[in-house]
Amino acid sequence: MADFIRVADVTEIPDPGKTLVEVDGEMVAVFHVEGRFYAIDDVCTHDGGPLADGELRDHKISCPRHGAKFDIRTGAALTMPAVRATRAHDVKVEGNGVWVRLRADATADGPAAHATATAAPTATPASPAAATSDASSSHEAAAPAATKSGPLSEDSIREMLKDVKDPELFVNIVDLGLVYGVTLTPADDVPGKQKISVDMTMTSPACPAGPQLIGDTKRVLAAHADVSAVEVRIVMDPPWTPDRMTEAARDHLGIF
C-alpha cells in the first residue's frame, strides 16, 4: 500500500477550487469543495487526456474537451462520453497540509476517503496536535456511505432524480421533462419517514427503456435515509413533447 504524501497546504487551494499535483509519478487533481478535500486521477476515461483544467461545479468536474463529467468524490463518470470511472484517491488533512494516498484500482462503488479541513483556510489554524487528531478521525469516519441524507422536499427529490438518465439519450429524466409530479406523504408505519409517489411519462408509449427508468427511479430515491417507500406511476396524459425539455437538455442533444 502506498503512503500518504503531502501535496499542498490547506490554504493553497481555495474553496471551491482545485490544483494539480504529482504523486508517485502520476498527475492527480486535488479539489476543495464545501470544506472537504478530494483527489482523483487527472485522466478523463473517455479520451485519456487531462481533466483538471475543466470546470468545477459543486462536486462535478467537466472534461475541457468533450464535456464528460466526473464526481470528484468517487471518480464516477456522470455523463457521456465517459462511461468508466476515473480513479479516486484517499485524502487526509493533517496539520496544515493536504495528504494524498494513491489507490491501486478504480472503484466508483464507494466514495474514497476524503477529508474535512479542520480550520477554514482563513481562520487561525488549530494547534497542530488538535488538527492531527481531528483529521485522522474524519479520515476514519469516511467509510463508504450507503445512504444519502438531508431534508426531503419536492425540489430535493427532483434533484436526486437527475441521477436517472435515459440510456439512449444520456440526459436525465428531470431535464427531459419526463417527471410530472412528486408527492410526499408521511409514512404511517415508520415515524419520521416519507412515502414518495412519482408521476412520470415516457417519450413514447412503447419506450424500451421504461422498465430501466422505473427501476432506476426507485433505486435512487430508496437510497435516501428518510424514504420508506417509492411508488412510480407511468402516465401518458398529457403526452410528452420535446417542448418539455430544459434548455440544458436541448443543448446536450443539439436541438435548438
Binding site: I5, E22, D24, G25, E26, M27, D47, G48, A106
Partner: protein
Amino acid sequence: MTTAIAPEVKTGGFDREALEQIIAAHPLPSWVADHRRAALEAFSSLGLPDRRSENWMRTDLRLFKPKAWGLRPKPAAGSTVAEGLLTAGTSLVGRIVSLDGHVVREELDPSLAKRGVLFGAAETLLAEHGDAIKPHWFSVIDSKSDYFAALHAAFHRASAILYVPAGVKIADPLHVMAAIGEGGVDTSHVLVVLGEGAEATLLTETAGGGAAASAAGGFHCGGTEIVVGRGAFLRMVNLQNWNTGVWHFARQKAVVHENGRLQWTLGALGSRLSQVAQDVALAGRHADAQVNGVMFTEGRQHLVYNTLQHHEAPSCKSDLLYKGALQDRSRLVWRGMIKVDKAAQKTDGYQRNDNLMLSNESRADSIPGLEIEADDVRCTHGATSGRVDAEQIFYAQARGLTADEAARLVVAGFFQQVFDRITIEPVRDALARAIGSRIRRVS
C-alpha cells in the same frame, strides 16, 4: 515520491556550452559541427511539443523535466551494458555497443571491411569516410520538426553508421546495442545506407536505465535514417527494451528507392513513455515496405506511435501490421497514416493495428488514416481492440491447462500473425520469449 535527480547525473544540460564540448571531443569535418550548430539554433527556439497538435495529443509530457537531463562526460561508474535479447542464437558479423552515450565496443568482420562495407561509430567513420556519408547524413529525417528532433540533431552521440556499397550482400546480421545506466542519457543516431542491389540485416536494441519506481529513470532522444537503394533489400529490427523509468523519443524514417525492399520490425517492451515517429517513404517505382510492430506494455507504461506510409512514386507497396498486448494500467496509442501523392498511381497500401487487452485498466487507441490524391489505388486499413475471450480460456482449461498457461497460449496465438512475417528466427524467438515471461494472469 518526488525526488530530485541526483546531482552527479546533471552534467551539463543541453546548451551551447555542452554542444561545443561535444564538437571539441572529436576532430570531425566541419560540416558535421555546422549541422549540429544549426540544429541547436532551431532547438533554442522550440518549446516542448504542443499537446494540441494531433501527434502529441495523446502524449502526456507534464512530468517530463527537460532540465533534469544532460550528457555524461563518460559512462557513470557502475553502469553496465545489459545482455541483449537479439544476440542469442545469431552469428553476428559486426557489432557496436555504447553505454551512456559512449561507444565501448566496435567490431566488423574484416572480410566485409575489405569489400567496402562501413560499420562503426560515427565519430570514427565521419572522420575517415566523411565524403561518402555526407550526402546521407541527416538527409532523411527533418531535424527541425520538433523539440526532440532538434535536440537529437544537435546532441547526437555514440551514433552508428552502416554503409553497404552497391552489389554487396551480407547474409548474417549486424548488431547495435545502445545501453544506459540508471539515470543515463542516450542520443544515438543510426544511419543505414544500402547501395544499389545491396543486402543487409541490422538489429538494433536498447537496454538499461532506471526502473519505474526509481527517481533516476533515463532519457533517450534518438533518430534513425534508412536509405534503401535501387533494388536493395534491408531487414531492419529496432527493439526498444529500456527499463520502465526511461523517457523514449525517437524519430525514424526510411526512404526506399526503385525496386528496393525494406522489412522493418519494431519491438517495444520497455520505457516509461515512448513517442515514436516511424515514417516510410516509397520514392521509386515498385518499392516495397513491410512494417511490423510488436508491443507489450505493463505497469503504467505509455507508448505512442505515429506512423506514416508515404507513397511518392507509382506502383509501390506498403504493408503495416502493429500488434500490441496491454497489461495492468498501461496505454498504447497508434496513429497511422497512408499518404498517396498524386503521382503515385497503382499504389497498394495496407495498415492494420490489433490490440489485446489483458486487464480492465489498460487502454489502447487505434487511429488509422488515409490521405489519397491519386485516383487509381488500393488502400485499406483495419484496427481491432479486444479482451481475451473467456471461452477460449475455458476451453483450454477444459483440456487440462491452467488459467496462466491458457492465457499465454492465447497471447502467443495473437502475436503469431506478426511473428510469421518476421523472417529472422532469433528475433522472433527473442520477442516471443520476452513477451511470454511478462504475461501474468489475465484479469
